[in-house]
């Protein structure tokens, strides 16, 4: 297979999201990740549910299956178990993945099937014209909640860790610099990888992530997690996260202030569950955690599944048919 460029992964289908939708940038990063990560179009399958986000497979020149609302992780599990040689990606939205599809996401995560799940979180049901979703903040006004929504939102990271995920990462739609790399890392994870991508639905939930995602303030509003490196942030990388052991929480400190030195800054350990549990919940005014927040190694489900030698044909039906006591009209035999 010749080296493919990111354009080779684009289909001839006209992309039909609203002009200015964050999905365009994510699509671009995905195409880049496929090219740069050396994906084989014939062996890659994109499975999606229903939602604006879930249209993505039609725009990617690999095998693609646009299934039904919420069920993409289940369909993708079937694809992967049937043929573990395939590189299986799932595209889902916050409604698709957390409303109707919450159960399948839970079970994919705990089983650790080697799927690369991209969750386009725009905190709204885009395709059905803007009702609040399970990740919408309390008080979100929408056609189905004109007085503001009442439900506490699900935290995708907290949920994933609760489900026993082995990989959780977070990125921003417009972060063309980091997102492709993050997608390559998630694809390479052997097990279920969940990547939450903060996505701007400019029509129904415009700029809901502005305080976190805006490029010009990103250095201060985001902390990039890199395994083994200190959790620094700020334009000059002079701010960082410190562990408060008294109340088991993370706090933001500035190096050089109040006697804080670089040694006080917590080193990111992507294999630490308690740390990840704290990181995923960071919210403004603290910086929001980006990058690979949690990653551990664990045998993926399909490997155990195929290890059982399932599906191999080592006995003949002809013999099975005559299992047990057989009455042979030419004489009884066992």
């Amino acid at each position: 297979m010749a080296d493919l460029s990111f354009k080779d992964f684009a289909t001839d289908q006209e992309v039909r999201w609203c002009p200015g939708c964050g999905d365009y940038s994510i699509l671009k990063s995905t195409l880049k990740a496929l090219a740069e990560g050396g994906s084989d179009p014939a062996k890659t399958v994109f499975v999606s549910g229903i939602g604006c986000s879930s249209r993505m497979p039609y725009y990617i020149e690999t095998y693609g299956f646009h299934t039904i609302h919420g069920r993409a992780p289940a369909v993708a599990t079937g694809v992967k178990l049937a043929n573990p040689d395939l590189d299986v990606w799932v595209v889902t939205g916050d409604g698709d993945g957390f409303s109707i599809g919450g159960n399948h996401l839970l079970h994919a995560l705990r089983r650790n099937v080697n799927l690369n799940i991209l969750l386009f979180n725009n905190e709204i049901y885009g395709l059905t014209k803007g009702q609040y979703s399970p990740t919408s903040r309390k008080g979100t006004k929408s056609p189905s909640s004109p007085g503001g929504s009442l439900d506490a939102p699900i935290g995708p990271g907290q949920f994933a860790l609760g489900a026993g995920a082995t990989f959780f990462a977070r990125g921003v739609d417009i972060d063309q610099k980091r997102l492709p790399g993050l997608l390559i890392e998630s694809k390479e994870h052997e097990g279920t990888a969940l990547v939450e991508i903060l996505q701007n639905c400019i029509v129904y939930n415009k700029d809901v992530f502005e305080d976190v995602a805006a490029k010009k303030t990103a250095a201060d509003t985001q902390v990039q997690c890199e395994h083994g490196k200190p959790l620094l942030f700020g334009k000059n990388s002079d701010k960082g996260l410190r562990l408060n052991t008294a109340n088991l929480s993370l706090e933001a400190v500035t190096i050089g202030e109040d006697g804080v030195t670089e040694a006080d800054i917590l080193i990111h350990d992507e294999t630490s569950l308690p740390l990840a549990q704290m990181l995923v919940n960071l919210a403004p005014p603290l910086p929001v955690a980006m990058g690979v927040i949690y990653r551990i190694e664990k045998t993926p489900y399909e490997a155990s599944f195929r290890n059982r030698k399932t599906g191999e044909r080592r006995r003949q039906v002809k013999d099975l048919l005559r299992n047990g006591y057989v009455l042979d009209r030419r004489g009884i035999r066992d």
Partner: protein, 645 residues
């Protein structure tokens, strides 16, 4: 005693702990090895393990065995073996006067009578006057027989079932060898238990020979059944289904991926299949029924044959995803082991009430083929047939079976596997378009990921008929709708013409049935024919599409009688597809149809044809066919007699 019959019905009943099902299975094998045809029905309590001695805790196993086509476990037992008072009292209503009852008299203690909610002892109070009762102190006799084994009292008493089995084998002159072999294999590592069980088996046998009332128990040895295939075995529906699936795998050289979520009575197919994972199958227990069908669809997308299996409530959950499989044009087999509904209903009881759901139960115009297995062994044939249709027409297929078929066993002629035609799939590695279609069936190519020629996208939104991409075009939607209908309709070009199972190709009454009533209908029609009546049996295995000649065939009869364990679902289909005025016989009590109920209905249709008087508490009218259309559900229903529960 001697009898003019060519078949006997025996029912074992007791607590789960009495090893009832094991006795039944072993007796079944022995009967088969004697060359008898047979049909069995295990009858489990609804509770997992009900308290000892309660009525609702009674476990039973019924077998009919003997000559010339045994197709039901029998309406009424000739012999009941009751291990305790509860087992006696719950089975009594099914016993005809004069039948034989064998009880363990040691179990008729005050305490156990109370457990069975009995105020007096039926052995003494005259309530068994109409029966031939033999009370044996089975407990003591067993203890005596195994005294030498060195087992304690409790373990010794656990050999009771083999004592009884020995006795019953003696009664009917069935061989003990297979039972002895089974005991030896099973308890190879525990010689004390092995020897005790063997001793009990032999003692039971000897007891018949020596007991003073032995002659009362002796039944005339039945002749070997006139069987025409060379090899037979006993098989349950669940076993046959699992075998049929791996057969389909071998025939198509395609792995079966069986994805399901446990539910009664469907789980047994999953259980049997887990033992066949080295025969071309893999099994995946999903988090729910929706995930199960979706994983199966994913497997089919990836080039394996996805199969999913459930019962009514679980099938309901799968209906949305069936639409996806129809839209994506993927092969898929959906097995429904029906149970009594609505809702949770009576999970351990049988019913045929999911035909509507199978044929009509989806949103949109979403046709798919529907098949139904008739008997336990038929599950093998229909499983391969379902897989064959799925892969030939690139469509999901529903296969209906039920709890009765799943658990019952029959003597099954082992098919000649080499004679079964291989299954061709639509995998065409050199095709470059996944939507290239077969000219006859309209089926698309089964494009397999991994093949660089066939990269494509597909989904549940209406797709362009030639590219698979999303299309909102009105003419395309009409064309796809028509194509979906035609694809399913084309199945009829591949299935055999509808024939009759018995009787002439024209006449007074055609009894048209589907599914597990096969055996009952067979017996009732056989009797009617023997009584000189003009009755034929038509059994439908292809529910959708129906065989092409069915309308023509049925129009050659004056009456079409449709017995069903539902409120008239096949009847609806026949009216819908053939505009046929049928007479319904419906029973929805969770119990199988009895031969006598159908016989009554036939006699009501042909009152002059026999001298038998038909006692029925229901006034029933039978509207002749071809008459001016009437609302059939109002006027042409024949109600089964109730009470004979």
């Amino acid at each position: 005693m001697s009898s003019a019959t060519d078949r006997y019905v025996v029912r074992f009943a007791g607590d789960s702990g009495d090893g009832i099902q094991l006795q039944g299975q072993q007796f079944t094998i022995a009967s088969a090895l004697s060359g008898h045809d047979l049909a069995t029905l295990p009858d489990f309590p609804a509770e997992i393990r009900a308290p000892v001695g309660t009525r609702y805790g009674v476990s039973a196993f019924q077998i009919q065995f003997g000559g010339n086509r045994v197709t039901t476990p029998g309406d009424a037992p000739d012999v009941l073996i009751a291990f305790n008072p509860a087992a006696l009292v719950v089975n009594l209503p099914a016993l005809p006067p004069g039948s034989q009852i064998i009880v363990d008299e040691s179990a008729f203690t005050e305490q156990r009578l109370k457990r069975a909610d009995l105020a007096s002892n039926p052995l003494d109070d005259g309530s068994l006057a109409d029966y031939r009762v033999i009370a044996i102190d089975i407990a003591s006799l067993t203890l005596q027989a195994v005294a030498e084994s060195g087992l304690g009292n409790k373990d010794s008493l656990r050999c009771k079932n083999f004592f009884v089995l020995g006795l019953v084998l003696w009664m009917f002159e069935q061989p003990r060898e297979s039972v002895a072999e089974w005991i030896e294999a099973k308890f190879a590592n525990n010689t004390a238990v092995r020897d005790a069980n063997l001793a009990a088996l032999n003692a039971g046998h000897a007891f018949g020979e020596t007991a003073e009332f032995g002659h009362e128990l002796k039944y005339e040895k039945l002749p070997v059944a006139p069987l025409d295939a060379t090899e037979y075995r006993t098989i349950t529906g669940a076993e046959a289904m699992a075998l049929g699936l791996v057969a389909a795998s071998e025939l198509s050289d395609t792995e079966i991926m069986f994805c399901s979520y446990p539910i009664t009575p469907a789980s047994s197919v999953l259980h049997h299949l887990t033992a066949l994972e080295d025969c071309g199958a893999s099994t995946f227990q999903a988090e729910d029924e929706i995930a199960a069908i979706c994983a199966a669809i994913g497997a089919s997308y990836a080039g394996k044959l996805g199969v999913t299996s459930s019962s009514g409530p679980g099938i309901a959950l799968k209906t949305e995803a069936m639409g996806l499989a129809v839209s994506a044009e993927l092969p898929l087999v959906i097995i429904n082991s029906q149970r009594a509904g609505p809702s949770t209903g009576l999970p351990t009881k049988t019913e045929q009430s999911d035909l509507y759901q199978a044929v009509y139960g989806r949103n949109g115009d979403t046709p798919l083929p529907v098949l139904a297995a008739a008997t336990p062994g038929d599950c093998f044939t229909m499983a391969t047939e379902a897989a064959r249709i799925a892969m030939r027409h690139m469509t999901p297929v529903i296969l209906l079976t039920d709890g009765y078929i799943a658990n019952a066993s029959e003597l099954w002629p082992i098919p000649d596997f080499d004679a079964i035609a291989p299954i061709e799939t639509r995998k065409l590695p050199h095709a470059t378009n996944a939507f290239e279609r077969d000219a006859t069936t309209g089926a698309r190519v089964w494009a397999e990921p991994g093949n660089a020629n066939q990269i494509y996208r597909v989904g549940g939104i209406e797709k362009d008929i030639t590219t698979g991409n999303i299309s909102y075009d009105a003419n395309n939607h009409q064309a796809m709708t028509d194509l979906r209908q035609q694809k399913v309709a084309s199945v009829a070009d591949f299935i055999p013409d509808q024939g009759v199972e018995q009787g002439e190709l024209e006449g007074s009454v055609a009894v048209v049935a589907w599914g597990s009533t096969y055996g009952t209908v067979f017996q009732a029609v056989k009797r009617a024919i023997a009584a000189g009546m003009s009755v034929s049996q038509v059994h439908i295995r292809h529910i959708a599409p129906l065989p092409k000649n069915l309308g023509e065939l049925l129009n050659r009869f004056d009456h079409v009688l449709v017995p069903e364990l539902n409120s008239g679902q096949l009847a609806t289909l026949l009216r819908d597809k053939l505009l046929l005025n049928v007479v319904q016989l419906n029973k929805v009590s969770g119990q199988p149809l009895h031969v006598s109920e159908l016989t009554d209905a036939i006699h009501q249709l042909l009152p002059g044809a026999t001298e038998m008087s038909v006692a029925s508490q229901h006034s029933t009218t039978v509207a002749p066919q071809h008459s001016k259309p009437v609302a059939p559900q109002h006027s042409t229903t024949v109600a089964p007699q109730q009470g004979a529960k």
